[in-house]
Amino acid sequence: MSFRTPGKVAYINARLLDPASGLDAKGNLITDGETIAAMGAGVSAPADAEIIDCKGACLAPGLVDMRVQLREPGEEHKETLASAGEAAVAGGVTTMVCLPNTDPVIDDIAAVEFVARIARKNGLAKVYPYAAATKGLEGKELAEIGMLAEAGALGFTDGTKAIANALMMRRALSYAATFGLLIVQHPEEPSLAGGVMNEGELSTRLGLSGISNAAEAIMLERDIRLLAGTGARYHAAHVSTAEGVELIRQAKKRGLKITCDTAPPYFALNELAVGDYRTFSKLSPPLRSEDDRLAIVEGLKDGTIDAIASDHAPQDQDGKRLPFAQAEFGGVGLETLLQVSLELFHNEQMSLLQVIDRLTLSPARLLGLKAGTLTKGAPADLVIFNPDRAGKVNPARFRSKSKNSPFDGRPVQGRVLRTVVDGRSVFTADD
């Protein structure tokens, strides 16, 4: 399916937020076709342009969500590329990068091309896949990393599984460095990750088996040592502990090519959300202590943590309506990514522009994507949002097929009004 090339559109009376230039000012933005033609305070709308009055709302680059699980192919009852695409644009996400843990696994060129083709046909948020670092995500043999990158894979990861064997990780880093490619790790030592929630007082009281912070620290420390010898590019996904943030902070100081992201649950929630065995709060890595949460916020503030990703992990009712220990890990996040991230701004922990940077430009840069800026000539991928509008997270209204949000019922501030992909409005709020 092809889409009609959009004409000129003028977004007027906007609060322009461009992390690339540091711009946070009132102004207009003009798109022509699929790209940004002009923006700034003095820019006026061309006579032949369609006018969209932002009425003072924020206009920022569309969000770049660098970690989502899309479940298609293989588990379409939980999510499809189409339903995730709808959820993404409703959340202001214009680019998402999906994990290879589908069925079949994205470890061959055909699977990479399948995702790209279906996403293009849907015409919603852009989708780029990570491909498997090892064949079948089995951690035993390298996947065809070079050819998969040529086919469009943005990075290489074993998804929700750590690349556990140290020699395998070393080879993967070395081999990826041959082509300058990125290895993305789920930083958790598997032999220490047999539990179901954070290890501590609460797990003891609830009688649930715990996962200690050491599981994250040990894997990160090991990987950092391997990284130092290989000169590779390494990205740690969803960092959740104070120790993890500190290890990455020090590795960055040493000049290693290391980046990391976290997800909203890790800076907006702590282990108490598990409360009365709430399976929607069963995440991987687990929700940590309040001290860890504060360390994550600190890491986001000082730039140790490069990006905020939704870590969108759809699970159906069958997977969550179970005793806590038996329930699946993961929570949906595409539709709450912006709202919950804005808490960092409302709590005066970060500026609005900083929050937008971690959601747009910073992940785009580390992935090598041409996205996340309002620069002239950049793709017209935009989000218009009201940062203050109060509401409540209501999974019943989610476009995602799965409703397992750890933020279910949470009062939030911020609402996406319109999402634009390649100059086309793909989402408009209905009220």
Binding site: T134, K135, K140, E141, L142, A143, E144, I145, G146, M147, L167, M168, R171, A172, S174, Y175, A177, T178, F179, G229, T230, G231
Partner: protein, 314 residues
């Protein structure tokens, strides 16, 4: 008195040899190229000498080449391979050496899967030892025959640009060639995925590349290395097709080299793995058959020089 131009009892490796010594061995080899091409290939400079080919690793080409070289010089040659020797019965490397030594042999040609094995043997015997490949360490006669091939085609080694491509990490051929080419004034580049390069490769005095077209740009010589099949299962590389796609030598990648660049391979080749058949069989570019021919000549020269030294030394 030993031959002052090559004053060594053994040939264990290229590392440590001087340009003069290498040139001398190459000059001596030239003569045997003519002998081998002539109608009477039988000499007698090794008449009454005994050469043992002691091969702990299977090899048809190298063993045959040494055998032929020794026979053409009039020596008595015995081949011992691991399957038929007492090594299989548990005899140690040194036991084997002392046993052979007691039989009054003149030259021991050794191939072994362990680096340093030839050196160890050389310390336990009275005869000359030629290293025919020890583990991932050295294969000096291969480097000499490669050098002879290049020198005859290009007229020199000095100033040439040579790209050694492929599994450098596990290659004794690469190590010997790097030492020889460096000391003779050639510029050596290595082209391989990072997983197939030894650590600190650049300390060998080479330029390291991970992209064939960049690494082959304007080189005079492209040396391909053999890729062992077990490298896939141990995850040095993902698959043969990916390896061939990025690192297999085809005309497209070769086009980055000089128009008259020559292609070499120590054999046996894996067609469609490290080299495309079209390139391997290109009579204009491929030196692969000539390398085999030079091999016999180089080994004749080495055998003659070492046995001559042996006589004079005592």
């Amino acid at each position: 008195m030993t031959d002052m131009t090559y004053p060594h009892r053994h040939l264990l490796g290229i590392e440590g040899l001087s340009p003069l010594e290498i040139s001398y061995l190459l000059d001596r080899s030239e003569r045997f190229v003519e002998v081998s091409r002539g109608s009477d290939r039988k000499g007698n400079s090794l008449h009454g000498k005994t050469v043992i080919n002691l091969f702990f690793e299977n090899s048809t080409r190298t063993r045959t080449s040494f055998e032929l070289a020794a026979q053409r010089l009039g020596a008595d040659v015995i081949n011992m391979t691991v399957g038929s020797s007492s090594v299989a019965k548990g005899e140690t490397l040194i036991d084997t050496a002392t046993t052979l030594n007691a039989m009054h042999i003149d030259v021991l040609v050794v191939r072994h899967a362990d680096s340093g094995a030839a050196k160890l043997l050389s310390e336990k015997v009275n005869c000359a030892v030629i290293n025919a490949g020890d583990g991932q360490h050295e294969h000096p006669t291969q480097a000499l025959l490669d050098a002879l091939t290049i020198r005859r085609r290009k007229g020199r080694l000095d100033g040439l640009s040579v790209a050694i491509c492929g599994d450098v990490r596990h290659s004794r051929v690469a190590r010997s060639n790097i030492h020889l080419l460096n000391v003779m004034g050639a510029h050596v580049r290595l082209v391989a995925p990072k997983t197939l390069l030894p650590s600190k490769a650049e300390t060998l005095g080479v330029e390291v590349f991970h992209n064939m077209k960049e690494g082959l740009k304007d080189v005079d010589i492209v040396m391909m290395l053999r890729l062992q099949n077990e490298r896939m299962t141990s995850s040095f590389i993902p698959s043969i097709r990916e390896y061939f796609h990025f690192f297999g030598l085809d005309y497209d990648k070769l086009s980055a080299a000089k128009p008259d660049a020559l292609v070499m391979h120590p054999g046996p080749m894996n067609r469609g793995v490290e080299i495309d058949s079209d390139v391997a069989d290109d009579l204009e570019r491929s030196m692969i058959r000539e390398q085999v021919e030079m091999g016999v000549a180089v080994r004749m020269a080495c055998l003659e020089v070492l046995t001559a030294n042996l006589g004079k030394a005592s």
